[in-house]
Symmetry: D2
Subunit: 260 residues, 4 copies
Amino acid sequence: MSESGNRWTTTIGKAEPDRVLLRGYNLTEDLLGKVSFGEMTYLMMMGRRPTPGQAKMVEALLVVLAEHGVTAASIAARLTYANAPEALQGAIAAAILGAGSVHLGSATDCARMLQEALADQPADADLDKLAEATVERFLAQKRIIPGLGHGTHRGGDPRAARLFEIAKETGVYGRACGLLERIEKIVEQRRGRLLPINVTGAMGAIDVDLGLPWQVAKGFAVVGRAMGALAHLTDEVREPLGHQISAHVVNNFDYQDPPR
Amino acid sequence: MSESGNRWTTTIGKAEPDRVLLRGYNLTEDLLGKVSFGEMTYLMMMGRRPTPGQAKMVEALLVVLAEHGVTAASIAARLTYANAPEALQGAIAAAILGAGSVHLGSATDCARMLQEALADQPADADLDKLAEATVERFLAQKRIIPGLGHGTHRGGDPRAARLFEIAKETGVYGRACGLLERIEKIVEQRRGRLLPINVTGAMGAIDVDLGLPWQVAKGFAVVGRAMGALAHLTDEVREPLGHQISAHVVNNFDYQDPPR
Amino acid sequence: MSESGNRWTTTIGKAEPDRVLLRGYNLTEDLLGKVSFGEMTYLMMMGRRPTPGQAKMVEALLVVLAEHGVTAASIAARLTYANAPEALQGAIAAAILGAGSVHLGSATDCARMLQEALADQPADADLDKLAEATVERFLAQKRIIPGLGHGTHRGGDPRAARLFEIAKETGVYGRACGLLERIEKIVEQRRGRLLPINVTGAMGAIDVDLGLPWQVAKGFAVVGRAMGALAHLTDEVREPLGHQISAHVVNNFDYQDPPR
Amino acid sequence: MSESGNRWTTTIGKAEPDRVLLRGYNLTEDLLGKVSFGEMTYLMMMGRRPTPGQAKMVEALLVVLAEHGVTAASIAARLTYANAPEALQGAIAAAILGAGSVHLGSATDCARMLQEALADQPADADLDKLAEATVERFLAQKRIIPGLGHGTHRGGDPRAARLFEIAKETGVYGRACGLLERIEKIVEQRRGRLLPINVTGAMGAIDVDLGLPWQVAKGFAVVGRAMGALAHLTDEVREPLGHQISAHVVNNFDYQDPPR
């Protein structure tokens, strides 16, 4: 029993001696070999199987930020693996630990902005007014509007555009996506210049339209990054570079005594 | 330049100002919305796109150990999130860190056994003889043969059986799978009792037949587990239990002073 | 060379073939067997050896939050170790990952509040006025003043009191500590009831008076927690409980199918 | 209650409303400001307060591998912090995750060798014979004897020598240290050339003489490394280099398409 004598209920799953039940399905009979990883992800997060459109959307969200070639995350994974090859899990964890606020935080912040703006609104709420009010609120608080702007993609982030395309194709595009596009427009009018929706902003909006809480809005990216790290580690096994990478950085440092 | 003045080459990918290239493909144009996460995983790990059969196989490997309901991994994730909700990535990392030798180690060990047995063998090597020699070698060294036996599934692990079924359907089943099934048979003959291939053993064999190095044989399970943890954390956001879980364990401990 | 062709300088240290230089000292000759871990910590973080008083202060900061008996952190460590005993480092990392905002965040936030309030102030700034202005600013922004209040210690957190006592004894107590005590007083006057400085608040103030940036204000607690986890893992090796702990939690969950 | 209805006992500690009890002591009254971190570490790991000699030994073990200047561990910490500054704990965890088998494994392996050799031996066992038998056993199994040899310190690792010096001064030096020195001698006689005890070997032997189980033999180094990472992160806050380090590595990679 728990502290208060209460038991807890879970609908996620249960391992029994001869079967694993997951969200109401039998792993071996109903899922294995029949569902893709994206479908499984939706099932586990939402508690029900996705429509084909939702499944396609989730696959895209898992893929979009999984891999960018050599990055801080994959370097951390290689450095860790080179010193702890007995624990592949630790090297993948090291890569994940960099999935923090600097890049992915705007997925979380954007999802939160949209979810809070839409909370308690009727289904036919006027999105233009909501967008206006949201922009006002952020400007009044001198806060940056999350999900807009990109260092290099001034004319628009092609990954964001593609995600919204898929969201429309698959019917996932809903009020949160619509609200974010209106916010983008209002900001453009006020600034006189486009500040385009970026990939993490689009991800945050789509997450909300899928029904996910904003707190896990960067979750698909974290899972994708685990896979990306695994790919780099597979290459590291084939051609070990971890110690060379370490030496390459160490050798660019000059040591000098601190002032006394 | 590296320590030795050398540059390194990667075929994994590269982020350019307006496109991301991954294993020879353009992320936005060629992959996003077109490939499933399983296909993406194969592409990133193997450097080429999978056949439909290979893709199906990889989806199954990503799914099979992703989730078992409440486990040590998901408990660690919830406990971590309850105290560090600002860092979802840390809670997922905590779940991954338990993907160690006790359960998943046999995937690694089994893949290694098979890969080393098949190394330098001609394509038409006699698998019966190889199986015999492998069993002899392990018995002579008093080592446990990895990938066989299961605490509860005495008559056969249904997940292993299902994975091999899919491996046959998809054409992935090859010499490593064949060798492991022969090893199972020889062990049964010697013991007079079945010691069935378990799920991690099957995973290890299939990984080798996919062309992966044994060192990353548990990688699909680690990625799957990242997703499983994300599902539990999504439920934790919806209904926070982390602090109650902690109290439930703490309250089952009695403190006493150590002997002086 | 770096991207820009620049080299970097570090004063932390350098490993040479026959010696390790750290902050201007030779590890084997000057430090090993001669400095305590607390002195070493100060040296590494501040770049110079501590006075005896500073050393005593740092030892107290390393000790104060290191261990609280069985907690979420030590449970996560045991669960992780039970499944990945090959990687002690992973189990300790799992414990550290819970050192997040919920408990330790107020050390960071309090240090930031004090450091920002004191920035650009002359050495003889009027701390009463600064305290007044700080409280005003937080109230105007409807933000909680960090470092005050405690769930159980309504009359004052004995650990905070002891830390401040040591800070006074050792001469570390300075403007940040003084400012926080004035803030406590002003808040008490306004509320008509004491909201006492808590242990993380005191830690944050002392960190600032030691000269540390607020961003690492919880660092001593994280290092302490690594040690605490190691102690629990040492007990786990002596008497393994990890799997029982896991089962104890799993058994308090009832599974039910999700609604369809 | 646990699965079996049993409760567990811990002697580590307990947080009560107005005091924290740790291994029989009151944190605020007995420990804080009175014990060094090294004494606290011994108390927590061993369940009793150290003698002054044991305390000095533990301080040295915590210090010896804590820091080597810029290394893979501190690079991983900086890369992680640069992307996830909201979670200092994650950056420290990333540094710890590289505390694996490649460097520190020999502490674990050496401690295990010594502890197993000494198990069930009478207090007056002949260490020369035990050393002989141990060397024989490793050679017969074609295993490397852990704790001997060093890439650069051919004539002897000065850190190992210093640790043994301290072990003798403090009275910690016991049968495990003596056995390892005899093993070193026998190996030298057989090879005709010194293969000196290295720092991790000495650490493993001293851990055993302190009474610790071999499974945690690298624990002091992991805690030390947490501190070392914290020092680098403090410098990273003062002068951010994480993104430059990442770019420096990325720029040394050339991308090319994989063969089709």
